[in-house]
């Protein structure tokens, strides 16, 4: 579906380009096309161009142009979008040790779905996911969509500390925590892959629009990759 972008003021120097109203994987090529068009048209006049599921936030350099000027130029830039080819994004294989000790909600998700933990793993690995947005923490990629049976609401009480590399599910989204942090997603496993590295060119492993495939590995392989097997304490509540 070809979007009709709407421009909304969100701050004295920022506009939201709203392309869609709901999350869908088919939207990403359009969101990325909008990012390209905005960067090309505004150049250094744009300080930040932040894509998310359905929108792009644009912060302009207010010393160089007014919001009204930016609005006009964005209107031109977005007038004739064509979706970016999906094969432009990289495909990342993320090895994951799925285990209840590092993924305490693995069993909960299985119970909710009426399937075994092994089937949860199989189904989580069965699809390539789109990276919709980076946010929450450096390199944290919001991905989806997991199949309906695995969809599980966030924990009512977020954990104070989720281990680095934890793989989680919230509703129909999935993500990996790049660094230890508080978090409310249902944890099902852990990866040794680094998602954020200050020494890496571009800093983050994922970019919006990339594709991600999870691959189940055993404990020995996880350890050989440098994975930390310290168990993740269960959430405060049970069976949320």
């Amino acid at each position: 579906m070809t979007p009709s972008p709407r421009l909304e003021t969100v701050a004295f120097d920022s506009l939201i380009v709203r392309l869609f109203d709901a999350i869908d994987e088919s939207h990403m090529p359009w969101v990325l096309a909008a990012v390209d068009a905005i960067r090309e048209r505004l150049g250094e006049d744009a300080l930040e161009v932040v894509p998310s599921y359905t929108t792009v936030l644009v912060q302009i350099d207010i010393r160089r142009l007014s919001l009204g000027e930016a609005r006009a130029r964005l209107g031109e830039a977005l007038a004739s979008l064509s979706p970016r080819a999906t094969e432009d994004g990289s495909l990342h294989e993320i090895p994951v040790w799925y285990d209840a000790s590092v993924g305490p909600e693995l069993e909960l998700i299985a119970q909710r779905a009426g399937i075994t933990a092994d089937q949860v793993i199989e189904r989580h690995c069965a699809h390539d996911y789109s990276v919709f947005a980076l946010g929450f923490a450096p390199g944290y990629g919001f991905m989806g969509l997991v199949e309906d049976t695995l969809a599980t609401p966030r924990l009512k009480t977020p954990r104070q500390k989720v281990a680095a590399g934890s793989v989680g599910i919230a509703d129909r989204q999935t993500a990996v925590y790049p660094a230890p942090s508080p978090g409310g997603w249902n944890l099902i496993g852990r990866t040794a892959t680094r998602l954020f590295d200050r020494e890496r060119e571009g800093y983050t492993l994922f970019k919006p629009g990339d594709r991600v495939r999870f691959v189940a590995i055993d404990r020995a392989t996880f350890e050989s990759q440098g994975g930390d097997t310290t168990p993740q304490p269960p959430a405060e509540e049970s069976g949320a």
Partner: protein
């Protein structure tokens, strides 16, 4: 030409203008919460306004000069003393080797800014030295650690202060009028609720008419829950029609309203994307003033146009030229 940290206090951070061009990677902005005060402190020494300085929250910081060094202060009055004598805040000061600069406790405002000649030496991470503790980026160690006992602050330039600049008084020169919510070089008390300028927008249309009326006419009170990520306001419960919003990028000063109806103003260390409906965004000038407010401070939200907000902003930048 350096200062040694004898005692760090609750939170003292290396800050500058923050990280730019990295929000799409999930990396927050960071930087001086009261960027106007940092600008004035730097201006006193002839530095660029966003040169790295120290943001001292509440006080408790004690520094010893390891050699003669010029410094400048702006922002909150945290009861600074030099070898026990109260320090005048309006002009640069040269510390003699061995002298102690101590920040006792807040007298007016919350965050003081310390500038050194040329800025403070630290390695830039993603284009900024600003310390974001949550992300583990920046600061003296490069990993976001706040100042700690034994740290050494080294100026980028090995020169004494050459300016004879003084901070403007609170009058037309500084653009600051009592209670108008405009940040100044030094924080002074307000007679009544502070007026914070807000550019309406985002999901403002999703709030009820009554809620909007009250948002801009009632007095809001700053909550205890306030940090570099966000500052909560308490007051009338704001209600809207929006639920299950899709997360989107969040600008500085965004006024988001979670389901409890009490707004949170998202500040420098905010998460980069979020999914609560918003009334719009405070101007950066209003954010700077807000950063100096203690819990229980009363504020008004005052709508302004983007054009007016831009004029005010550019006028502030021009004061440092």
């Amino acid at each position: 030409m350096s200062l040694k940290v004898e005692r760090a206090g609750p939170l003292a951070l290396v800050v500058d203008g923050g990280r730019q061009g990295v929000r799409h990677l999930g990396v927050t902005q960071g930087g001086a919460m009261d960027w106007v005060a940092l600008g004035w402190a730097n201006w006193l020494l002839g530095n660029a306004p966003d040169s790295p300085g120290i943001e001292i929250m509440v006080g408790g910081l004690a520094l010893v000069a390891e050699a003669d060094v010029s410094v400048a202060l702006a922002g909150a009055d945290l009861g600074a003393t030099l070898d026990g004598e109260p320090l005048a805040l309006a002009e640069p000061v040269t510390l003699k080797r061995g002298q102690r600069l101590v920040f006792e406790r807040p007298k007016s405002g919350l965050r003081a800014y310390l500038a050194l000649p040329g800025g403070i030496e630290a390695s830039a991470i993603m284009g900024s030295v600003t310390s974001t503790v949550r992300e583990g980026l920046g600061g003296l160690d490069g990993f976001g650690k706040p100042l700690a006992q034994g740290d050494v602050l080294t100026p980028r330039q090995d020169r004494p202060s050459t300016t004879d600049r003084r901070l403007p008084r609170r009058d037309a020169d500084s653009g600051q009028r009592n209670g108008d919510g405009e940040p100044g070089a030094l924080v002074t008390a307000s007679d009544g609720p502070l007026a914070l300028s807000l550019v309406p927008g985002a999901q403002i249309a999703s709030f009820s008419g009554t809620s909007l009326y009250r948002a801009f006419n009632d007095v809001w009170t700053l909550d205890q829950r306030a940090d570099r990520m966000g500052i909560r306001l308490t007051g009338p419960r704001l209600e809207g029609s929006m639920s299950g919003m899709v997360s989107e990028g969040i600008p500085l000063g965004a006024v988001q309203v979670p389901p409890d109806g009490q707004p949170i103003i998202l500040m420098n260390d905010r998460q980069t994307i979020g999914g609560y409906p918003r009334l719009g965004g405070l101007t950066p000038l209003a954010c700077a003033r807000l950063a100096q407010c203690l819990p229980c401070t009363e504020v008004h939200l005052v709508p302004v146009s983007p054009e007016r907000a831009r004029d005010d902003h550019l006028r502030q930048l021009a004061r440092w030229e």
